[in-house]
Structure formats: C-alpha cells, structure tokens
C-alpha cells in the first residue's frame, strides 16, 4: 500500500493497460450477433465492434480509478483526516473535455458513413410491399402482381421493402439482415436490403402492437436466383388461374386487386 500511495499513477497505468487488452479481447471473442444474411450486416457488425473497442478503455479507466482509489486512499472508520484540498486542474479538465469530444465526433462521422453505405440505393431492386396487420405480415410483389404470406427473396438481388400498416404501429425486423423499420399507418416506410446468405430467417414484429405482438412472426426464405424465378413464375401462374376463376365467379378480380394484401391469397408456404 505504501508503494501505491507513493507511485499511484504507475501501478494504475499498468493495471489499466492489462485490463484494457483483456477487455478488448473479451468483447471481440463474444459472438454478439445472429448470422449475417445481408450485405449491410458486415458493416454494422464492424461498426459495433469498433464502438466496443473504443468503449473498453473508458470503462476500464473508470473501474481502475475507483478500485485503485478505494485500495490506496481508504481510511479506517474514525479517522478524522481530510483529503488533499484539490479544487480542480484546468489542464486535466481541458483534456477530458477534448478527448471525449474528438472520440464521439469521429464515431459519429464513422456512423454516418456506414449509414450512407447501407442505405445506398441499388439499381434493379426488387420491390416488395409489406403490410403489418394485427397479428400477421403479408407481402405483395407489385412488379409480378402476386401476393404471399411468406417472403421469398433471391440471394444477392437487392430488395426494397415498402412497408405499410393496416391498423396500428408494427415493426418489420429480420435480425439476420440487421435492418428494421416501423410500419406506420398512413405513411409508407422503406428499407433496402441485399440478402447475401441462403436460408430461412424469422420476420419479427418489434413494435408493441397488442395482445398478439409476441407471436406476430413470419419467415423469409433466401433462395438462389433460379429457385426464386421458379417460385415467382409458379406464384404468377396460380394468381392468374385464380383471377380467371374469380372472373367466372362474378368479377371478384377487380375487387381482389384492390383488396388488402394477404386477403385472398391464402396458399400457405408456396413452392420454390
């Protein structure tokens, strides 16, 4: 303890350095995220890692000073001595205003750059209209003219989701894509995604929407471009069949075209 009292800075710096290295190693070893299934995921995960790495020294500094002070400057109950009457230190205060300011400014710029990257518009994007309604998601492919209650996307083909709500707020979220946005009654919100990994992923509602909120799930299948084309063609064919059937049944096609998405087209699962 006497050494600590005489040379407190030295020990503190050493301990902090070791703790920082261990801390950074630890936060990088932890597997934080779900798998990466979109091109944006890589950028976002890297940004998160950078934020973590920048945070570790700050937290270690605070912990180290607290623990060290308690060890080195603790007095027994009944000790009537006072600490040194240090009222401030302008240089030190300038330092701890400037360094955090520079740090957050750099991180903000980096965050902005990543934001621009992940939201850059891609040519030839497939448009999918998404509608949230208590408590289900439904999808419409306006260019191909059919609807579906599962979402099927082609790997590496950019998608633009045009998101709407039929009642209250919902939130369209695919954790593996790292992207989400609210479904807002009265306006259309958009997000762009380029799926980059084959597989089945959950579509999760992330905005409290009522009793069924926690079970408002759907799924997205990312398939190869060929499979996607086959699925889309099959869907289009079925839709045309249904329309002609409906025509014979008394002109429901016109109504069907304008009806809420997911209303008529209950063919579950789909091919592909």
């Amino acid at each position: 303890m006497r050494l600590l009292r005489r040379r407190p800075m030295l020990g503190l710096v050493l301990v902090s350095l070791v703790a920082t290295i261990v801390g950074i190693a630890l936060v990088l070893v932890i597997d934080w995220f779900p798998v990466q299934a979109s091109t944006a995921a890589d950028d976002i995960d890297l940004l998160y890692d950078v934020l973590l790495v920048a945070s570790v020294p700050i937290f270690v500094l605070v912990m180290a000073v607290v623990i060290y002070s308690v060890l080195a400057f603790r007095v027994e109950p009944g000790d009537l001595s006072d600490g040194e009457p240090i009222h401030g230190n302008t240089k030190l205060e300038i330092v701890w205003v400037t360094i955090p300011f520079i740090m957050v400014s750099l991180l903000a710029v980096y965050g902005w750059v990543v934001l621009d990257d992940i939201e850059a518009s891609e040519p030839d994007a497939l448009i999918v209209e998404v509608t949230g309604q208590q408590f289900a998601w439904s999808y419409r492919y306006p260019e191909q003219g059919f609807s579906s209650d599962t979402l099927v996307l082609a790997k590496d083909r950019p998608v633009e989701f045009d998101i709407n709500s039929g009642d209250v707020l919902h939130d369209f979220w695919v954790p593996e894509f790292r992207l989400k946005t609210d479904a807002v009654p009265g306006i259309t919100t958009k997000i762009r995604v380029t799926p980059s990994r084959l597989g089945n992923y959950d579509v999760v509602c992330a905005e409290l929407c009522g009793i069924g909120h926690s079970t408002m799930r759907s799924s997205v299948r990312v398939v190869s471009p060929g499979s996607y084309e086959a699925w889309a063609t099959e869907r289009k064919r079925r839709k045309e069949e249904q329309d002609s059937g409906a025509d014979a049944g008394g002109g429901l096609a016109a109504a069907g075209a304008g009806a809420p998405v997911g209303y008529v087209f209950g063919v579950a699962g789909g091919g592909g």
Binding site: S55, F73, D79, G88, D167, D182, A206
Partner: protein, 638 residues
C-alpha cells in the same frame, strides 16, 4: 370531535364522502349531456368512467383538505391563521394529513414512492416469472402487456421522478438555509396529487379489458384503440405531471429567492444546482407529455383524429411530442442523482468536489442539449431521414458534459480519505454502472447500430443500467446518507453493505445478459420468445428474483433502524453543508437563527474553512477560501 364536524373538516372522513359524491357528479354530468344531445344509451359506462377519473381524484384532493385555505380566501371567508400547529409530525398518523412542513412532505413523498416502487418491483417479478421459459406460463398476453406497462409507469412517474422530489423537499430548504419551501400549501397539493395518479394506474387492472397495455410510451394509434384501462394512464399521467410541475416551480422560487445571506449561486451545494436545473427541465418539458396524453384522450373520448390518418391525423406527431418530454425526462430522472453523488462522494472522501464550476456548468449543458436529442428514440419510426444524423450528433455530444461529471467524481476520489460507508458504496456502484449505461447509450445513438437493436432487450438492458444502476443507486446512496438526518437514528452499516453487494451483483446478473439476447434478436415487450433464448432468460429470471430479495434487506434495515437504531448525532459524516449543522432530525422550523454562508460547501482539507456560521454577525474569516472553480493555482493532481 363529533362525526358531523369530522365530515366537514379536512381529512379522510371528508375524502371518503367526496368519493361517491364526485362519482355521482360524473355520472350525472354524463347522463345530462347525453340526454340533452339525445344519445342512446343514456348510461355510457366508458364516458362515465372517463369523467369520473377526472372528478374523483379532484374530489379526493379537495376532501383531504388541500384547497381549504384557498377556498376560504377566495370566497371571502375568514382564513384560518397559520399558527404552525400542523408543522412537524408527532405520530405516524400526522403523515396521513395535509401538512405544509417540507420535512413532513419529504417523508410523505419518500414513503409513498417506495410503496409504489415495491408494487412496481413485484410486477417485475411476475414479468420475470413469465419470461423464465419460452411459452405461456402464468399470465395471458394481455395481462403481461399490462404488467410491464404499469411496471414502467409506476417506476418512472411514481417512483424515480417523485422520490427525488421527496429527497429534495427534505434537504434543499435545509441546505440553502431556508425555513421551508417558498409555497408550503402548493407543496402539500403537489404531494397529494401523486398517490391519486398511482392508485389510478394500479386500479386499471380492475378495468374492463385489463390494465393499460401499450407500454409507458402509450404510442398512438394503439393507445387510442385499446380498452378503457388506457384512460387510467392517460389521465393518471396528468395528475403525476401536474404534481411534478408544481413542485418544480416551488423549487425554482425557493432556490432563487430563499437562499440564506451569503449563499451565492457559486456557493450552493451541487444537489441544489442539480434540483435547480432539473426543475427547469420539468417546467419546460412536462407540459408536452400532458399535451400528448390530452390528444390521446380527445381521440379516444370525443372522436378527434389527431392520430388517425384516415381523418387527416399524423401518427408520428405523437412520438415527437411524447419524446420532446420523455427524453428530457431521462435527465429529470438523472440530474438530481448527479447532485446526490456529488454530496456523497465529496463528504465521504473528505475532499472538495473537483471542478465545482464545471460540475454546475455541465448540468446546465445537459439541460440545453437534452432538448435537442428527442428524435433518437425514433430512428426506425419512419420519420424524415434527414433528422437522424443531427440527432445522432447531439446525442453523442451529451457524452461530453456527462463525461466531465464522471471524471470529476473520479478526481474527487483521488487522494481523498475515503470512508467506504454504504452511501459511498452506492455512489461508487453508480459511477461504474452509469458509465456502462452511458456506453450503451452512445451505441444507441449510432444509427446503423440502433437500426438493429432498437426495440430489443438491448434497450431494456440500457434503460435499466441508466435508471437502476444510475438513478436508483443514487437514491439508495442519498437515503443512506441522509437517513440519520431525517430519522435521527443510524442505519445498520453491515446490513447496508450486504444490501449494496447483493443488489450490485444481482443487478449485473439480471440486466447484463439482456444486452446479449437483445443483439441476438430478442425483441422487447414480448410475453413469449423464440426457444433459442430460453437458457439465458432462465438465468436472468433467477438473478432477478435474488435481486428482488436483496431489497428486503434494505427494507428491514430502514424499518428497524428507524424504530430502534442508535441515536444519530447532528453531523455523523462531519459534512460542511448547512443541513448537517442543525440537530438530527432538524428543529420544526429548521433554524433557530438563520445561518450566514461564508464559503464554499465542500472545503474539506482546507484548514479552518467553514461553509456557514450561525449568529447575528458572520465570524471574521481566518482563511481565504480556495477558489471554488476549476481554474487557477491549486496543486495539480499528478
């Protein structure tokens, strides 16, 4: 006293009569209006409930006696002269009467808010029991949604915000050398509005269709469509908000006009600064949440279309107005805690607060910046895209004044003579845990990250690090610190330390893993979740039950120490600020003679330095007080 006199006079008998009367008034008014308009049916229970939710609390407040003086004065009747006979509390029953003594009101606030804290905590236990494994166990989804909504509303509106008002009520007048608050009757009214709001929120569980289940955020349009329970929130918030605004006005006037001679702004303890800045936030921001809930009320009850796009309404407007209050509310729930921590660390480390002026300036900076960041809660809401980057930048800039405070507390510890008492332990727990909350806060400002983690358990983790590891730890620090002053008895130090370590460990085990599940894809506010999160949620639930049990140690300590603890001396911490220079508990009128302030509040280690002197003439200064600010000559740290 005869029964008739009891029924006429202020108190619980009259309040008990006023309840059915104000209900009948609401019923009569609704039936009359519906009859005049020719509506069918005449008895619309939704309308009657809504009006009764307004009249019954008012009836209670009138019945208990908050308005008696003003009514007499306004009607020209002779007012009852204030003979101060109601000051102080001689029995426990005195705490259940309208009392204008700031010390009694302070205790009323603290005990009432802890009552709601316990209820909110029990709800959290039910929530964790339900979440202990995937699937549905104990409660149905509607009850579940009600539980977390009422939990959050009680914790925010009935615990954290008002318990700080309670601590400040007790301490601030003593700290600035004032005999009471500036408006004692308004102070009593502020307190009595509070339990009505809390009772209303809890009563919503008995409403048709269950408690309000739209979160404490009550986002439109779901809040305009859910069953009648929502009205209990919409209207309850008005009473909690009005209470908050009235108290804040009272603090502002008290601090500006009632400081003892010599107490310049730069000699005020930082707790006074903290409550001064908090009160500014409250009076500016709180009307916005009142507005947002009135919009909801009008949409629900009178068929307005503020949030109905089909009627020309705008759904996002709700969120903008709501967060224009509710982000500053985060600082309303934090700045008073900052003040407490400055008192506790300086006193128990026997050192002046490092960089006193910068500590005060950073509070002011947080107030100003706090109004420029609200839309960071809306990064995925579908608002204008251009608004996001400016809000990200301002949000991250708040880290700078907050960082000043954290680093200054650390520098205050440095080379102190640290007494590791329970308040000090909680203060140190706060500094470290709040740093973690601040770090996740920075992450939640960076838009690409927040697009993924918003509305997930990462946010739940963040808010509990900020509000429990932050605010509630400061509340515990403050209560242990001022317990001897308030009760005149000492708490049990060993139990206090046990309480700290249990809550510190299980707090981290409860809320730490929530970061992980959140990033991994678990949304918040769900009664059920994917199988993959089962193990970690079971761990969180077990930790949370032990965390909840740790509170019993605190409760036991407080109750037994208050009844039978060793008698406390006037100044057990050898603190310099004025509240410690009077007896414990203080005299009924605080000061037999008004003190004169002659120096800074934290001059520990400065030989012969005093903050305030009692007596007609200020004592001659024997030493030149060291400069209070960060500038100038003091010895460098290293």
């Amino acid at each position: 006293m005869t029964l008739a006199a009891r029924l006429r006079g202020p108190g619980w008998y009259r309040a008990a009569i006023s309840q059915p009367l104000s209900f009948l008034f609401a019923l009569g008014l609704v039936v009359l209006v519906r009859a005049l308009y020719g509506y069918d049916p005449l008895f619309d229970w939704t309308a009657i409930t809504t009006v009764a939710l307004l009249t019954m609390p008012l009836g209670f407040i009138v019945g208990i006696g908050c308005f008696d003086y003003w009514f007499r004065w306004a009607s020209g009747a002779p007012t009852i002269p204030e003979d101060h006979s109601s000051h102080g509390a001689k029995t426990w029953w005195d705490y259940f009467r309208v009392n204008t003594d700031h010390k009694v009101i302070g205790i009323q606030y603290i005990v009432t808010t802890f009552f709601f804290f316990i209820l909110g905590g029990l709800m959290a236990m039910v929530i964790r029991a339900e979440l202990a494994q995937p699937g549905s166990q104990f409660v149905d989804p509607n009850t579940y949604n009600g539980l977390f909504s009422v939990h959050a509303s009680l914790m925010i509106f009935l615990f954290i915000i008002p318990v700080f008002a309670g601590i400040a009520n007790y301490v601030i007048p003593l700290m600035i050398g004032a005999p009471d608050m500036a408006f004692p009757r308004l102070n009593a009214l502020s307190f009595w509005m509070l339990p009505t709001a809390g009772v209303m929120m809890i009563a919503s569980f008995f409403a048709d269709g269950g408690a309000f289940a739209t979160g404490w955020t009550a986002y439109a349009p779901i809040s305009t469509e859910t069953p009648i329970g929502q009205q209990f929130f919409t209207i309850g918030v008005q009473f909690a908000g009005a209470s908050s605004i009235a108290t804040a006005l009272n603090f502002l006037v008290t601090i500006i006009t009632m400081r003892a001679p010599g107490m310049t702004f730069w000699r005020m303890p930082l707790l006074v600064w903290a409550n001064f800045t908090t009160s500014l936030l409250v009076v500016i921001a709180t009307p916005f949440i009142a507005g947002s809930q009135f919009f909801v009320l009008l949409d629900r009850s009178l068929g307005f279309h503020f949030f109905d796009p089909a009627g020309g309404g705008d759904v996002l407007m709700y969120q903008h107005v709501f967060w224009f209050y509710s982000h500053p509310a985060v600082y309303i729930m934090m700045l008073p805690g900052f003040g407490i921590i400055s008192e506790v660390i300086s006193t128990h480390a026997r050192k002046p607060v490092f960089g006193y002026r910068m500590m005060a300036f950073s509070l002011v900076a947080i107030v100003i910046l706090g109004f420029t960041v609200w839309a960071h809660h809306m990064f995925v809401s579908g608002m204008h895209n251009w608004l996001r980057v400016p809000m990200m930048i301002t949000t991250m800039l708040i880290a700078v004044p907050t960082g000043i405070k954290i680093f200054s507390w650390l520098a205050t510890l440095w080379r102190g003579a640290i007494h590791l008492t329970t308040p000090m332990l909680f203060a140190l727990g706060f500094v470290t845990m709040f740093t973690l909350g601040g770090i996740s806060g920075i992450m939640l400002a960076v838009i690409p990250v927040v697009i993924h983690v918003s509305d997930t358990y990462f946010v739940v983790a963040h808010i509990h690090y900020v509000l429990f590891g932050g605010s509630v730890f400061t509340i515990f620090a403050g209560l242990y610190h001022w317990f001897p002053k308030i009760t005149g008895r000492m708490y049990d130090e060993t139990l206090g330390k046990v309480h700290f370590w249990l809550s510190f460990v299980f707090f981290n085990l409860t809320f730490g893993p929530m970061h992980l599940v959140g990033i991994d894809g678990m949304p918040r506010r769900v009664a059920d979740y994917a199988e993959q999160f089962g193990t970690i949620n079971a761990l969180i639930s077990v930790s949370s039950f032990l965390f909840g049990l740790s509170f019993l140690v605190f409760l036991y300590n407080m109750i037994t120490s208050w009844r039978r603890g060793p008698i406390a001396v006037a100044n057990p911490w050898r603190a310099h600020s004025i509240e410690w220079q009077v007896s414990s508990p203080p005299p009924i009128f605080n000061f037999d003679e008004i003190p004169t302030v002659v120096g800074g509040p934290y001059e520990y280690g400065v030989p012969g330095a005093v903050h305030a002197v009692f007596g007609e003439k200020p004592a001659p200064r024997t030493v030149t007080p060291a400069p209070a600010g960060g500038g100038g000559s003091p010895p460098p740290v290293e």
